[in-house]
Point group: D2
Chain length 409, copies 4
Amino acid sequence: MTQTLIKVDLKQPATQNEQIHNRWHPDIPMACWVSPGDDFVLETYDWTGGAIGNNDSADDVRDLDLTIVHYLSGPVGVKGAQPGDLLVVDLLDLGAKEEVPWGFNGFFAKKNGGGFLTDEFPMAQKSIWDFHGIYTTSRHIPGVRFAGQIHPGLIGCLPSHDLLKTWNKRELGLIATDPDRVPPLANPPVSRTAHMGKMKGEARDKAAAEAARTVPPREHGGNCDIKDLSKGSRIYFPVYVDGAGLSVGDLHFAQGDGEITFCGAIEMAGGWVHMRVELIKDGMSKYGIKNPVFKPGPLTPNYNDYLIFEGISVDSDGKQYYLDANVAYKQACLNAIEYLKKFGFSGAQGYSILGSAPVQGHFSGVVDIPNSCATLWLPTQIFEFDIRPNASGPVKYLDGSINMPISYD
Amino acid sequence: MTQTLIKVDLKQPATQNEQIHNRWHPDIPMACWVSPGDDFVLETYDWTGGAIGNNDSADDVRDLDLTIVHYLSGPVGVKGAQPGDLLVVDLLDLGAKEEVPWGFNGFFAKKNGGGFLTDEFPMAQKSIWDFHGIYTTSRHIPGVRFAGQIHPGLIGCLPSHDLLKTWNKRELGLIATDPDRVPPLANPPVSRTAHMGKMKGEARDKAAAEAARTVPPREHGGNCDIKDLSKGSRIYFPVYVDGAGLSVGDLHFAQGDGEITFCGAIEMAGGWVHMRVELIKDGMSKYGIKNPVFKPGPLTPNYNDYLIFEGISVDSDGKQYYLDANVAYKQACLNAIEYLKKFGFSGAQGYSILGSAPVQGHFSGVVDIPNSCATLWLPTQIFEFDIRPNASGPVKYLDGSINMPISYD
Amino acid sequence: MTQTLIKVDLKQPATQNEQIHNRWHPDIPMACWVSPGDDFVLETYDWTGGAIGNNDSADDVRDLDLTIVHYLSGPVGVKGAQPGDLLVVDLLDLGAKEEVPWGFNGFFAKKNGGGFLTDEFPMAQKSIWDFHGIYTTSRHIPGVRFAGQIHPGLIGCLPSHDLLKTWNKRELGLIATDPDRVPPLANPPVSRTAHMGKMKGEARDKAAAEAARTVPPREHGGNCDIKDLSKGSRIYFPVYVDGAGLSVGDLHFAQGDGEITFCGAIEMAGGWVHMRVELIKDGMSKYGIKNPVFKPGPLTPNYNDYLIFEGISVDSDGKQYYLDANVAYKQACLNAIEYLKKFGFSGAQGYSILGSAPVQGHFSGVVDIPNSCATLWLPTQIFEFDIRPNASGPVKYLDGSINMPISYD
Amino acid sequence: MTQTLIKVDLKQPATQNEQIHNRWHPDIPMACWVSPGDDFVLETYDWTGGAIGNNDSADDVRDLDLTIVHYLSGPVGVKGAQPGDLLVVDLLDLGAKEEVPWGFNGFFAKKNGGGFLTDEFPMAQKSIWDFHGIYTTSRHIPGVRFAGQIHPGLIGCLPSHDLLKTWNKRELGLIATDPDRVPPLANPPVSRTAHMGKMKGEARDKAAAEAARTVPPREHGGNCDIKDLSKGSRIYFPVYVDGAGLSVGDLHFAQGDGEITFCGAIEMAGGWVHMRVELIKDGMSKYGIKNPVFKPGPLTPNYNDYLIFEGISVDSDGKQYYLDANVAYKQACLNAIEYLKKFGFSGAQGYSILGSAPVQGHFSGVVDIPNSCATLWLPTQIFEFDIRPNASGPVKYLDGSINMPISYD
């Protein structure tokens, strides 16, 4: 049996587990050590450390303190790893902790972080998804059932001191351009809620004051939210500190490209990752690697009948943007939601499906001035009824009696 | 045998063919008429009307007058089509004209339109791709061979007068914010090179002065450059004028998501489209359709072993952007090109591969402030050698003796 | 443009075209020569040389003289090919001759060759399939539409004199065990209808008297009827004579595993193959090759939602067989046909679908005495209605008013 | 958490667990009851009840008493199920028991059951496969690593008294045609080693004397050994007795089509199945169902680069068979093994790979007298080196120093 190097007791606060941390800093002590060639299991909290409950209220989403995220398992030290190496990580398997076969998807209120479509959905909402073996369904969104594609939303190695300085400099610089913005342009270090693993006392306070928040993806990977980092994938991570310091968390049962709902994909209430590590010495320069590179695994859900929605970089008010892929993808999402409403889904349910199900988001055209074109690929086989267009028009399969909990500001 | 409704003689200038046009305007007369249920063939010029040759110089790319594009076949009138309907188009098959089994891919000079990576590749370059049945190779880029996925870069219906006004207003408005920019923010109407099909005299001049350029994708579809609109796909187009007025052109033998090289995908020197049309009466409101929706066909090349490159919205100079998916995708592309150089490809060859081969570009994270995360999926099976990472490092398979033609400004 | 080395005029009898032959013999002169690395096109007759018409009677199927088949294009001599080499053949593309966008599927009468289910369907029947670009439908079988997977039913190289002797010896030996059987156990040489290409006079007569019939697949490949030898596949053929002598014919637009209907798949009325050849010198011993080996192409129709039927080696009368995979597959086929009848298809229509559509037939269990288990994979996405089981039972979508022509003995 | 209705303690003999049985008989008492709509977990022994060890000797394979197999978990009674219904079973998930992350593959000696290629491999041999998350490797077969496709080799419902009589009659009839054959034509009832679940005393003895052995697949499904009955698949089983009586066992981590090695696939040392049941009342007649029908799940390993070997119904001695698909598939298997030997695998290793890895076996031609054509699809992506043919010939990657244990009679 494979050894579990980091255990998580979901009844214990994440902040009391010294093998957990929620900031990036080179001085966070290794939670455990392994050797190249080892395989091992790490258990994980959900990204909020248990703040979101399996219930029918969105109050917990509305009231979440975003400075506490993400609770990560690690860092795992890898013997012999040195700056400039590539850490090769095989995600051999991932799963839910047996006692919590469920996850959540939510939208933050616009005042508290928002999401990709926060202008259209400004209030906190939530859906709960139950896992039935490889499948999931939600009691808040009837008519949908699909296979999961479990992946870590967040995985990467510790930054060096230099890299950390670069991060802080550029992100604080961005914040400074509009410091009072709601939501903010970026998240500065916050010492109060920093959980620095085994670090205590002054050392902890010093590091916490400058430790990077975990929200954005960065050079080391981190919170990339890539749905295809699933079972069987192999990732090549840049190493910046001796021992590498690999951390992982924020497990998703499934997600659409973009994790557009922000809170988030189907966030697993508790999980585990079985992984194996190797090293490619001096791999960063050998392969010219700046950001992680990976190979997806062989077990992607094989849904292949898609309905594809286009969006261009003209917003809902008709405003013209210049080659703005974000606006284009937003429009593609809104187009898909409008379409789903014709079958009886509420807008919020449609939004939640796009954030949770294995939808693809593609850059389709990025050079045809002034309009970007983005496409959203909606798999039709996840629906329990036929959503494809036909001459007689859509059938309203759902009567709207079931909807997602909402909590007003 | 299916009837060919629009024939193209590649030796005749596109401007002399009255069933061809290069602008969008509601008053362009139908080139021919069909009924719902009909299937038929349209032949097509390449998007430049033959301006780019099968040779080893990039001068023609450098010197192209971009106001002449795109030469489209149509408009095809569909009996009974009315504004508000959906025109259902089956792309039953597409192919190269027998006499021109080749295509081109190029980068415009930064001074003349540029491309997605124009800062890194500011000079005009070109590669020629020969078709060998379903496969293609380039004499300018050794080591690569892949199956095509033929699709029209551009397809859509005529706009109404109102829609045309909307387009002109918003695009001219954008240009007005920085009218002297090189390259420009958008393309205004240009009467001189407008080819308005059968329109002549004053009517032509009036329409040409306000007719929309074909470069950007818009509500009607148009120049979406979606590689998955391939053999067997079914598209649902909004109809804005009586008879719909379907036009098509800019056939690509293959393309990577984004058509990042702009000039362009593998642009087919001449082609044909076999299609079938149907109507869904009042389909726009029935299904809540604003932009086209489509179902991809069943014959996508089944490459499935990918190496995936991540990019975040921090540019090559370290500048921090706020959730800018374009910057993130650009970084993912540059990361892939750096990687390919380790195997002996030149940067330009790498760029051309990303623009030509069936690579995917995904929105991976779009909400994790301040960094977007984009991924570029490079199929490893298109290379004639193994490009996957391993412990001993890359092998330089190519010696650089073959490269792409370049033409300096 | 690629050169067409063998042209076929469908109005000319196949027997008058000297680049066509319908027997295997080492002395058949090469129809043309190519060099390794060449690519070229061969046109083909249908396997019967035009004996089956695009009409609504099965009389031509009933009355077919089976000694005339298969009319093959070739043999193509490959310079430098020697016995023991492997001839590498790339099927770069295949298609229908423009003037005959249709094919046929039929059952021979039990008295005249029969088929896999000839006991259940003893009379001659036929269906005509029209090609619509990549898709096909039949006016005799409503409710079905699918993408083709064009492939040669028959392709291979000339046998040596020794190999030919081996064939004749073992097949005549088999016939001798039950010489009066109807249908026969195998097909002996028949000189009268032998078409030996350019051979004339005495030489022709001598060779025709011993030339092998083309019906069975043999060591050289030949009539393998493998649906996956489609666009883009690469085949490695054993070479037995100087020049190899590659011949091809019997093009199918689509076929189910087994070609159970015998007459046959969707037999293309006329077609062409674009291919390229290479040699692996001494490849047979290098790779231990006895029969051809191949790699399928990248453009297989991506139907992936299957309903799978099991069959075991107990026949419809309850008779027990010992590990007989044929009986098991027959039962799986019959089970699928019974199922399809619940939706309104006739038995003959069901049989024809299994012979024509991209169904898979798998050996599932071959060792669990005394029962073999075979599975038939029916893609549900080829039907225009939903054929998957549900609690309320099947809907009879078809009323039986349309059926396949039948011709009684 | 889902309830585990049948627990298995691998240290306890299977014969002492009353929720286990190894024969088919309508009177075996239900081990537990569920209702339609319930989901639940059943744990399983390996098919031999622990007789094969994780060691480097094949003695246990050589000495196995085949009358003891297969130890099944069940029968599970389903409330309301009646003869004529269809029992709908969702295989929601399957896995290895945590304490035994390994499985075995073996060949029985020809004297003790044999296998598909027992003439070529007449001695007992064994390979052990370790599971690493979704992947498996064997210390006895280097150079191979692939993702599993866990499935029950054996699953089905209890037969009725009538059906049992039919089975006994036809199988005993077959045995009677050659009663002394080694190996036997079929397996008669054997009371001594029959484990009848909760049945005791006289009732047990009476039933055991007539209870059907579990080796062959039959009308109810049973030992079908279909590799595609994997995670997420849905099966429709005929019901023959009140309560249905669903039993399952013989879990395989992976298998090639045919389970040619007989002992067997990669046989999991201990496993569990998470399933859900529903009923279609009177479904057998509604859908014309005789044998089970199923839909495969969405998580098949996506290996898609195949090398395909052909075989025809002429055996290794040149003997001609009449349309014998078994002989053809055997030849395809032998051809693949010969090929693999060129890369350094032993014949036994090649045989074991074909039995264990996700290879496909297709009926390719079944009507072209006298030769059947079968194809074996070998995925090239499971090998750690390149096994595709090229002009320079194969590289012998393995030196033969590692081989599979063998035990002589």
